[in-house]
Structure formats: C-alpha cells, structure tokens
C-alpha cells in the first residue's frame, strides 16, 4: 500500500514538473506546479510530516499559486516563442540527464547505510503539537529572525509597488 501510494504520487510529481518546464503558456505551468505541490503533500504525509503536508497545501497550493496566477493574469503574458536550440543539446540532453540521475541515485544507494523501509505511521512526531513545542523552545531565535525577514519582504514589496520606480 505504501509503495503503491509512493509510486503513484512520485510519478505524478515528476510528470507535472516536466510539464511545468515543457509547457509554453505560463498558466499551464502554474497548474502543473499545483499538481507538484499537491502530490508532494501526499509524500510528506507518507514520511510522517502531517503538519507540513497541511502547510504545503495551504501555503503553497493555496497562497503562493494564487499570487502567481494573479501576476500572470495581470501581466497578460502570452505563449513564449522558442529560440532555436543547438542540435547537440536536443540530441544528447535527455539521455545524458537520465544517465546523470541514474549515476547519482546509484551513489546515494551505495553511500547510505541500509535501512528498513519507510512505512506510514513509522514516524509520529510530525504533529502540530510536537512541532510547536520544538519551534518555540529550541528554535526560538531562528523563528524570531524569520519574522524580521518577513518584515523586510513586506517593506520591499511595498517599495517596489510604488509608482516612481
């Protein structure tokens, strides 16, 4: 069951990611990105990250993608035309990429010590309760620094949205 769920959603994630890069129109890319985010949320759930799966759906597939689609609609960007690629790139690109992926996968396989499989329910610390406790005790300083980062981002967005720039 775990293996079937993993295979289905990992395949959907990778196919949607390829579709994101291949599609000519930005709206199609945005919809593919939503597919990637949703299937990654399922993978997080399989890995025991319950809170992160919810955050992934709400923040990424909800908020960020609405922002992207809003900007695409605002800028009214049409389909982009292709620049002519070199023959070598189209001929050797995909096979070399697959070979590189297989090579690195083999290296990871050999380098990582053998473990038992990842089963759903094997890691139960990803609850909001546990995450909140660690976030507000052990990682309190990074949390506060992150609030400063968000403040800077807000000020930057406001400055950039002004008329004069």
């Amino acid at each position: 069951m775990d293996a079937i769920l993993f295979l289905i959603f990992a395949t959907i994630a990778v196919l949607c990611a390829i579709n994101l890069v291949v599609q000519k129109h930005p709206i199609s890319s945005a919809l593919s990105l939503i597919g990637v985010m949703a299937s990654l949320a399922v993978l997080y759930l399989l890995l025991g990250g319950e809170f992160l799966a919810a955050v992934q759906l709400i923040v990424y597939a909800g908020a960020i993608m609405v922002l992207f689609v809003f900007v695409i609609m605002l800028l009214n960007a049409g389909a982009e035309r292709r620049s002519n690629r070199s023959l070598m790139a189209t001929l050797f690109g995909v096979p070399l990429l697959a070979a590189f992926l297989a090579l690195v996968a083999y290296v990871i396989q050999r380098g990582l010590p053998p473990t038992e499989g990842v089963y759903f329910g094997g890691f139960t610390q990803g609850t909001p309760r546990a995450i909140g406790r660690v976030l507000f005790t052990q990682y309190l300083l990074p949390f506060e620094v992150t609030s400063v980062l968000i403040l800077i981002a807000i000020i930057g967005a406001v400055v950039l949205a002004r008329k004069e720039i």
Binding site: A17, S29, L47, G49, I64, A157
Partner: protein, 102 residues
C-alpha cells in the same frame, strides 16, 4: 514487494531539483523561472523531510518550515520586482531585459 526506502525519496527530490534547474536555465518567461525556483526549494524540502524520517529527528521538519517561509518571501519580492520591471520595460522575457549588459 520491494519496500520503499529513504533512497527513493531522495531520488524524487533529485529529479525535481534537476528539472527545476533546467527550467531556470532554458525558459525565458520570468514567471516560469520563479516557478522553477519554487520547484527547486520543494526538492530541498523533500530531502529535509526524508532525512528527518530517516534519523527519527524532528529538526528536519522545522528546517522545512523555514524553507517554506523563505520561499514565500522570495516569491512575493520576486513578483513585486517583476511588476515594477513590466511597468518600465513592457516585457516579462528575461532575454529582453539587458540594461546591465555591457
């Protein structure tokens, strides 16, 4: 059936990272480039959470939350820059913005 191990999740993250890098390098629309950057950050998150499960340690998931926060801030500022750029140059294609080109 062969069990799914941490390696499989790492390979999924690696595949997403490679695809995102290709998107950043080959696409010309800046909106799609920003989306590819989101893809790369998600690949990092997959790795962090897979290792959090592998080591039975919650710290990886906390780091993933920070990565999501930084990704949101980056998307907001990036799209703000893009709006300001479009207002001045009337384009969203990266190769038509060559103000800094010598």
């Amino acid at each position: 059936m062969h069990p799914v191990t941490t390696v499989h999740y790492l390979v999924v993250g690696l595949a997403l990272l490679l695809i995102g890098t290709i998107g950043v390098l080959t696409r010309r629309n800046i909106v799609v480039i920003l989306m590819s950057i989101e893809l790369i950050l998600n690949a990092v998150n997959v790795n962090l959470i897979a290792f959090s499960r592998h080591l039975q340690d919650l710290s990886g998931q906390i780091f993933a939350i920070f990565v999501i926060t930084v990704a949101v801030a980056e998307a907001a500022v990036g799209l703000g820059i893009l709006i300001a750029l479009f207002r001045n140059k009337e384009t969203v294609l990266a190769d038509e913005v060559d103000l800094l080109k010598w």
